[in-house]
Symmetry: C2
Subunit: 201 residues, 2 copies
């Protein structure tokens, strides 16, 4: 139906989406800013991933459609407006997907049909991690909180009883986006362990 919308009606729906998306600025994450001063929200996290995509793309083993990587990281958390942020190490993580899918369907459907299908497609691509772009985007999504925790003395890990082996297991798919980045990170994790940043395994 919306394929036949005029420009004015399309703009109204596009802006309705923009206003609704603004609520993502209220979804707080467990992880703190790099300076440790406060928790960051999902929008700040998404911007950091986009910035990282701009400057780290060379570490992908294959050339990337960087525009698609950035599109994915910009929108990947929007369903959390409905579903809330899920801590990576939460036991119930597997159960959150239905709420996230429902949230994605609701939020992207605010847009005209063609744009809704495009962004929902990007979101599913990110979630499925089958394309090089999605794998790299997913690697960035893990890299940012890892770096923040390493910078902040591992407070989130020790507060939540997360040991080194759980961190390695939960983040291992970074290697699917960039084996080089994962090798570097493993070295930093070893250093962090010797500094006592992790809870016991």
């Amino acid at each position: 139906v919306t394929a036949s919308l005029g420009a004015v009606e399309r703009l109204a729906r596009q802006l309705e989406f923009v206003v609704e998306a603004d609520r993502l600025k209220h979804v707080l994450r467990r992880t703190s800013l790099f300076d440790g001063s406060r928790k960051e929200n999902d929008v700040e996290h998404s911007w950091s991933l986009a910035l990282m995509a701009l400057v780290l793309a060379e570490h992908s083993p294959v050339p990337l459609d960087l525009h698609r990587v950035i599109g994915m990281v910009l929108i990947h958390d929007l369903p959390e407006i409905d579903a809330g942020d899920t801590f990576l190490y939460a036991q119930e993580r597997g159960q959150e997907t239905a709420a996230e899918t429902a949230g994605a369907n609701r939020i992207f459907s605010l847009l005209p049909d063609d744009l809704a299908a495009e962004l929902l497609g990007l979101w599913h691509e990110f979630e499925e991690r089958k394309t090089p772009e999605a794998r790299f985007a997913a690697a960035l999504d893990r890299l940012e909180p890892l770096l923040q925790n390493l910078h902040n003395g591992g407070v989130v890990w020790r507060e939540n009883g997360i040991g080194k082996e759980r961190v390695l297991a939960a983040n291992a798919h970074i290697a699917d986006g960039s084996a080089f980045l994962w090798e570097q990170i493993k070295a930093w994790i070893d250093q962090a362990q010797s500094q006592g940043l992790f809870a016991p395994d």
Copy 2:
């Protein structure tokens, strides 16, 4: 010199940039979130512009390299880490450019030379508003606070004694990015005036 850096050294400089860029999350703007609950920061603003670019590009009169538009809006405020946010309607706005240029040079220079040149080039392109991509990015940069102020009952305008004619003058270059968007906005501004959202001119 940095052209000869190895991947490990390049990564170190890239991450130094990412950590420094994180400080943009502390630069507060005058304008509030769409729900009016608090001021937004420069990173939240930048993410909103990128999201708007993803869904509003069709309103450009010419096809755009959207990847470059999004790159510009993601990084356009980074120099404000050094220079601070400048209120659009501040008298001294013209004097801030030197501080912003110095900030841009310092912050982008954290990156390996090739990436520093690329992002500094994007930043200058945005500031100069000569390409269709820069004009559209600049239009989004005006559109977001306008929409927020219209949503929030014009509090920022009345608090700062900003009348309708100043709003029209300060935002008129939206038309250079999209005449269609500017026509819509002028209609909303007329409505807002009849609702008393502006200070007297």
